[in-house]
Symmetry: C2
Subunit: 242 residues, 2 copies
């Protein structure tokens, strides 16, 4: 069997889209109850992915898009020089895998940074459903368009902003994504390593580490490994230009 989510079928994880805590962030936004049920029918839930498990690998045939229910997924690919390029971190309520639509193969690989629960949404079924539920089509167009604009913001970061600005922005981004999920916006766990942060932001590990230390000295953050507390939101915001 070559469908990872089916391999992972687990009778204990029966949550429906209607009940899912994330449903306001995820796909079913703007759908009627009856429509949610129809979407629910095509969504496949499996047993959790553990740290380092791949959800899919770059190059394999594109079949599904995915939603994060819990945990954190990293998207990355290996470029022609053999170097890894991290292209995103996906937190609960967020969709990933849409990079695969363009070429019918995944361009990125997706790997769990910690134990993560994932919903799989077979794309051909989603397309059919989109034809029948125009608001779902619209929602999906918007999702992809937002991915484009957020990539463009990262491009701006990389081409215009200093190391401090980039890191401040990332921290604030994770903070606000926490807030959307009704979690603390000041007490944050960074599920990714310093190396992943650096890779994503176009910086070396050493620079990332130094900036965290500097932010701590300046009283902007309290850093304890992956747990960080934002002590001065305004100060960070000023740095990040947001």
């Amino acid at each position: 069997m070559n469908n990872p989510a089916v391999d992972r079928k687990c009778p204990h994880s029966q949550v429906s889209c209607g009940d899912c805590r994330m449903n306001a962030l995820c796909l079913p936004l703007a759908l009627q109850n009856e429509e949610i049920d129809r979407l629910d029918d095509i969504v496949q839930r499996g047993r959790p992915f553990h740290k380092e498990d791949h959800v899919y690998n770059a190059g394999v045939e594109f079949k599904s898009v995915y939603a994060v229910r819990s945990g954190c997924i990293k998207s990355y690919y290996i470029n022609d020089d053999g170097q890894e390029q991290v292209t995103g971190f996906h937190l609960p309520g967020e969709i990933f895998g849409i990079d695969g639509i363009g070429h019918n193969r995944y361009v990125n690989s997706a790997i769990a940074l910690e134990t993560s629960a994932i919903c799989e949404i077979p794309f051909s079924r989603l397309e059919e459903l989109s034809v029948e539920i125009p608001s779902l089509q619209r929602h999906f167009f918007q999702l992809m368009s937002k991915e484009i604009t957020s990539d463009q913001q990262l491009i701006t970061q990389l081409s215009k902003n200093s190391a401090e600005e980039r890191i401040a922005t990332l921290i604030l981004s994770i903070s606000s994504r926490n807030a959307r999920r009704k979690l603390s916006s000041t007490q944050i766990r960074l599920p990714m390593s310093r190396a992943d942060i650096g890779n994503y932001l176009g910086l070396t590990v050493e620079t990332v580490s130094r900036v965290f230390s500097r932010f701590q000295k300046q009283g902007l953050l309290a850093v304890d490994k992956k747990e960080i507390e934002i002590l001065d939101v305004d100060g960070l915001r000023e740095l990040s230009n947001n």
Copy 2:
């Protein structure tokens, strides 16, 4: 009247999608003749945009996506620091404006770098048509997904590659987009200024200029203002890692 394409209505520019030289690159790929006609019905063609004319401005309500028939369009936005960030150059046969879908407003502004002919495709009509023609829906999903992966490649450029690598890659990209349009892949006109190139690639004008000079000294290019000739494709390709 607030629809720019209608303001520009020009009875002389009556080309249909079926006849357009660009139609293999643009939307109607994989459509039946009858379907092309239906798409053709919703496409609006206007009189040309001149250099410096805006097709749309960031922040205005999103209504349409656009296709370039001739000329060159630059996408850019002004970030919170008031600096311009160039997000793309659109050549004939390419679609732009899809950044607007996500928030119902254009995030970027689009401006003509030279006299350009543009097709306007009202998005709500396109959505309706996509519901009726699933291959159009699929085509559009793919278009957006490709935009995402090409943005991600730019991200990799910016975070991993040197000035020379970035510029070599841009030149090769324009060269291959010329080739798709059956134009010379070695004799190239760069429709954008050095400043735009630098802005797009996260470099200063001076660096761009120096790299062009260096490439010329190394016998990779012959540079004459905006006209460049690629003398050593393999050398460039080696630099660019593509």
